[in-house]
Symmetry: C2
Subunit: 168 residues, 2 copies
Amino acid sequence: MAPPDQGPTPEMVLESDEHLREGIELMFFAYRDFTSDPDAVLAERGYGRAHHRALHFINRKPGVTVAGLLEILRITKQSLNRVLRQLVEDGLVRSEEGRSDRRQRHLSLTEAGLALEKALSEPQRARLRRAFSEAGPEAVGGFRLVLQRMLDEGGREAVLRLVEKEQR
Amino acid sequence: MAPPDQGPTPEMVLESDEHLREGIELMFFAYRDFTSDPDAVLAERGYGRAHHRALHFINRKPGVTVAGLLEILRITKQSLNRVLRQLVEDGLVRSEEGRSDRRQRHLSLTEAGLALEKALSEPQRARLRRAFSEAGPEAVGGFRLVLQRMLDEGGREAVLRLVEKEQR
DNA sequence: GCAGTCCGTCAACAAGGCTGACATATTTTG
DNA sequence: CAAAATATGTCAGCCTTGTTGACGGACTGC
């Protein structure tokens, strides 16, 4: 039933340090491979991962303000502004003055922005699609649950609200 | 039995884009929180994550050569050398001439290096310990399996050999 | 009217990747 | 033995992406 190698717990060692170390290393290697996917596409355009992240979350919450994006990404406005400026200049992101509060800028993707976001996320989706289908639905449930429990308790609610439901 | 919220698959949508996007975002947020743990300790000593990674894998494979470490980390020797030089100067890493091949340098942690490595990895172990115990052993199996399937096919065997068995 | 907020920007800095070029010692090979 | 290959270290410079600090302009809410 279960695919091979569910772990090194022959007699369930509770959470041995060995077991934990394996988790730490798997996170390191899996995340590295996972994030390497979009790099080729990004490199062609002279962008980096910061651009990818901005595109992802603007796509995710169209109309988000700069402050809203800062809260999600948890970087400084100077860092964000640097990539945002490029993306706006290059015509990938639309920045519109708020109607009720004209200090705010509401961000959204242009057609070109949508296209690039798709091109960037597709290899990652393909990787996950394959991994999920090879591991099976039960494993995927466990994967999701463990990642959720790894989140900082402080921001967990907010993150899960963003990840699981909120569309805008 | 299973803790709440195993995922958004009420009637198993195979792998919808929604489902995959949630996986992508969970990886982003979980990895961010996960790697934030050691930063406080590192900052006190003026080190960064690169130092942590070097310490981790030298601890993991005592006697590893510089080339061996490069292969694991997949960075350039210049990048590695920068942190390695500091760690040796600061007395955390021992660098010994190879006996059979004197061009090689075999790396290992000193007492101080072992202590720092432990201080760095402990908060990460604590986070995983808690997440694993909250999620339960089945979920942990799924977590591990999915991460394994997310690895690049090319290096998967080598990574799993390192992560799961090889001690030196 | 004024304090506070939201946004953008300038300047400077650091970590940690990268490339390219080269030096040195050592081992392997022809 | 001479030459090539290997392992390591180092210099110099570049890029991305994070950081602080300071400041100005536009706007809102009281």
